[in-house]
C-alpha cells in the first residue's frame, strides 16, 4: 500500500517535473525569437515544411469530409422534409467542430510527428550539441522557427480545410442531390455568424496549434538520443496531441457554446 502510494507520488512528481521543464523550454524558445534579421529565412523554410507540405492531406481530407457531411446530412434531413437546410448543417459542423479538430488531428499526424522525428534525430546525431558548441543556441535556431511555424500555419490550414469542405459539400448537395443552390447558400449564410461560429473556430484552432507545436518540439528535444527513443517520442507526439486536442475541444466548446 505504502509502496503504491510512493510510486504514485513519484510519478506525480515526475509528471510535474516534465511539465515544468517543457514550460521553461517553450518560454526560452519564444524568448529567442526576436532576431528577425536571420530568423526570417529560417521561419520561411519552416512555414514551407510545416505548412505547405501539409496542404495536400488537408485539402483532400477537407474535400471528402465535406462531401460525406452533405450526404449523411441529406439522408437524415430528407426524412423531416428539411433537406434544404443541408448547407446550414454543413457549415456549422465544419466551422465549429470538424474544421479545427480534424485539421489539428491531421496536423499532429503529418507535421507534428515529422517535427519530433527531425529534432530527435538532430539530437541523436549530436547536431544540436555541435550547434551549441559553435555558439549558436539551438532553441533559437532550430526550435523557435518550428514552434512559430506551427502556430502560424495551423489556423490557416484550418480555414483552407473549411473552404474546401464546404465546396465538397456543395458539389454533393447541389450537383448530385439537386438541392436548390439559392437555398443552400442562403441557409448557410443566415445560420452561420462570423463572431460566434467562425471566430470561435479560429480561436480553437489557435489553441490547438499552440498545444501541438509545443508537444511536438518538446518531445523531439527531450527524446532519448537513440533510434528507439525517437520512435517513442514520435508516437507520444501523436498520442498526446490527439488527446489534448480532443480534451481541449470539449472544454472550449463548453465555454463557447455552453450557455443556453
Amino acid at each position: 500500500m505504502i509502496e503504491r502510494l510512493r510510486i504514485l507520488g513519484r510519478s506525480g512528481l515526475d509528471i510535474l517535473a516534465i511539465q515544468g521543464r517543457s514550460a521553461i523550454f517553450v518560454v526560452q524558445s519564444l524568448y529567442g525569437i526576436p532576431s528577425f534579421r536571420k530568423g526570417g529565412r529560417l521561419l520561411m523554410e519552416q512555414l514551407y515544411a510545416v505548412g505547405v507540405l501539409s496542404l495536400p492531406i488537408i485539402v483532400v481530407s477537407g474535400m471528402f469530409i465535406g462531401m460525406v457531411l452533405s450526404l449523411q446530412g441529406y439522408t437524415i434531413l430528407v426524412k423531416f422534409g428539411a433537406e434544404q437546410s443541408v448547407g446550414q448543417m454543413l457549415s456549422l459542423s465544419l466551422v465549429r467542430e470538424l474544421g479545427p479538430v480534424v485539421t489539428a488531428l491531421l496536423f499532429a499526424g503529418r507535421a507534428g510527428s515529422s517535427l519530433t522525428a527531425e529534432i530527435g534525430l538532430m539530437k541523436a546525431t549530436e547536431q544540436l550539441t555541435s550547434m551549441e558548441m559553435l555558439g549558436v543556441d539551438p532553441l533559437r535556431y532550430v526550435i523557435a522557427p518550428r514552434l512559430l511555424a506551427g502556430f502560424i500555419t495551423m489556423p490557416i490550414l484550418m480555414l483552407i480545410f473549411n473552404v474546401v469542405g464546404i465546396w465538397g459539400g456543395y458539389l454533393v448537395a447541389v450537383d448530385w442531390l439537386d438541392i436548390y443552390e439559392g437555398s443552400f447558400w442562403a441557409n448557410m449564410q443566415s445560420a452561420t455568424s462570423f463572431d460566434e461560429d467562425v471566430m470561435n473556430g479560429i480561436i480553437k484552432s489557435i489553441v490547438f496549434a499552440f498545444v501541438i507545436a509545443w508537444i511536438a518540439v518538446f518531445q523531439g528535444y527531450d527524446a532519448k538520443p537513440t533510434s528507439e527513443g525517437i520512435g517513442v517520442a514520435t508516437t507520444k507526439t501523436v498520442v498526446y496531441s490527439s488527446l489534448a486536442v480532443l480534451g481541449l475541444d470539449f472544454v472550449l466548446t463548453a465555454i463557447m457554446f455552453g450557455d443556453f
Binding site: M133, G135, V136
Partner: protein
C-alpha cells in the same frame, strides 16, 4: 610545476555523477596552452563527459573548471555562448555535420551566424578551411555522401572556421582505416602548430596519440590514474597505467562488470 597562466584550463576537485554512478571523483586536470593534451582511458570512463563539462554542456556536482581564469559555471548563458563562439571548438565523435546543408554551407554556418562578412569573404574563408583539411573539391557534396573520415575532416573545417583558441577532439581516430588515421593525426598536429591552438584529444589509440601528444592523462575509476609526457607514462609503474598502456585484458580495471558471485548466480536461476 607550471605557472597557472600557462594552462588554458584548470580543473580542480571535479566531482560528477550520473544517477548513482560516480564518473569523476575529485579529479584535477591542467591543460597547457598551445600544446596537445591527450585524455585516455577505458571506454565508459568519462572522457566524453569531461569534454562536455569543459564545453559547459554539463554542470559538475562540485569543483571548478577555469577557462583562461574564468569559472565556466559562474558565466551567464550569453557569456558562455560568447566563449564557445570565440574560444573553443569541439569535434564530435560522429562529426555531427548538419545533414541538411552541403559541406560548403556547413563550414560557412558559423561565419554566417556570427559575422556580417560579405559573401565573397565567406567564400574565401570557407575555401581556405576546406583546403586545410583537403576537402576543397568536396565542397558541394552533402554529408551523407562523405565517408566517415571525410565527415570528420569537414566537421574539423567547420570547427576552425572561427579560429578558436582551443579544439577538443572526441575520439577522432575511432573507426578509421590506417590511412585515415594517419591523415587525421597529421592534421591535428599540423593545425596545432600552424594556428597556435591548444588541443585536447580523447582517444584510446595509444600509438597515434602518443606520437602527437605533449601530455597525457589516463583516467580510470573517476580519478586521474596517471599523467605526464608520453615517455614517462609508458614507464609509469602504477598497475592501472600499465594495464591500459599495454592493453592487458584484466588488471585493476576488471574485465567483468560488477556482478554477484558466479556460482550463486547460476544456481539462483532455478529458484526464480
Amino acid at each position: 610545476m607550471t605557472d597557472e597562466s600557462d594552462n588554458i584550463i584548470v580543473i580542480r576537485d571535479l566531482c560528477f555523477k550520473r544517477g548513482e554512478h560516480v564518473i569523476f571523483d575529485h579529479a584535477d586536470f591542467d591543460i597547457p596552452r598551445g600544446k596537445v593534451t591527450a585524455i585516455m582511458g577505458p571506454s565508459g570512463c568519462g572522457k566524453t563527459t569531461l569534454l562536455r563539462l569543459i564545453g559547459g554542456q554539463l554542470k559538475p556536482d562540485s569543483g571548478s573548471i577555469l577557462f583562461d581564469g574564468q569559472d565556466l559555471f559562474k558565466l551567464s548563458r550569453n557569456d558562455l555562448y560568447e566563449l564557445r563562439r570565440t574560444k573553443m571548438g569541439m569535434l564530435f565523435q560522429s562529426g555531427a555535420l548538419f545533414t541538411n546543408l552541403s559541406v560548403y554551407e556547413n563550414v560557412a554556418f558559423p561565419l554566417r551566424e556570427h559575422t556580417n562578412l560579405p559573401e565573397a569573404m565567406i567564400r574565401d574563408i570557407v575555401l581556405i578551411k576546406l583546403q586545410a583539411v583537403g576537402l576543397r573539391g568536396a565542397r558541394d557534396l552533402m554529408p551523407n555522401e562523405l565517408s566517415g573520415g571525410m565527415n570528420r575532416r569537414a566537421a574539423l573545417a567547420r570547427t576552425i572556421a572561427l579560429d578558436p583558441e582551443m579544439i577538443m577532439y572526441d575520439e577522432p581516430f575511432a573507426g578509421q582505416d590506417p590511412i585515415g588515421m594517419g591523415v587525421l593525426t597529421e592534421l591535428i598536429s599540423l593545425l596545432n602548430k600552424s594556428l597556435g591552438l591548444t588541443s585536447i584529444v580523447v582517444s584510446h589509440d595509444i600509438h597515434e596519440t602518443a606520437s602527437i601528444a605533449d601530455k597525457i592523462y589516463v583516467i580510470a575509476q573517476g580519478k586521474v590514474a596517471g599523467e605526464g609526457v608520453p615517455e614517462r607514462l609508458m614507464e609509469d609503474n602504477s598497475q592501472l597505467v600499465q594495464q591500459f598502456m599495454n592493453g592487458l585484458p584484466d588488471g585493476p580495471i576488471p574485465f567483468h562488470y560488477p556482478a554477484q558471485d558466479y556460482f550463486d548466480d547460476m544456481m539462483g536461476s532455478i529458484e526464480s
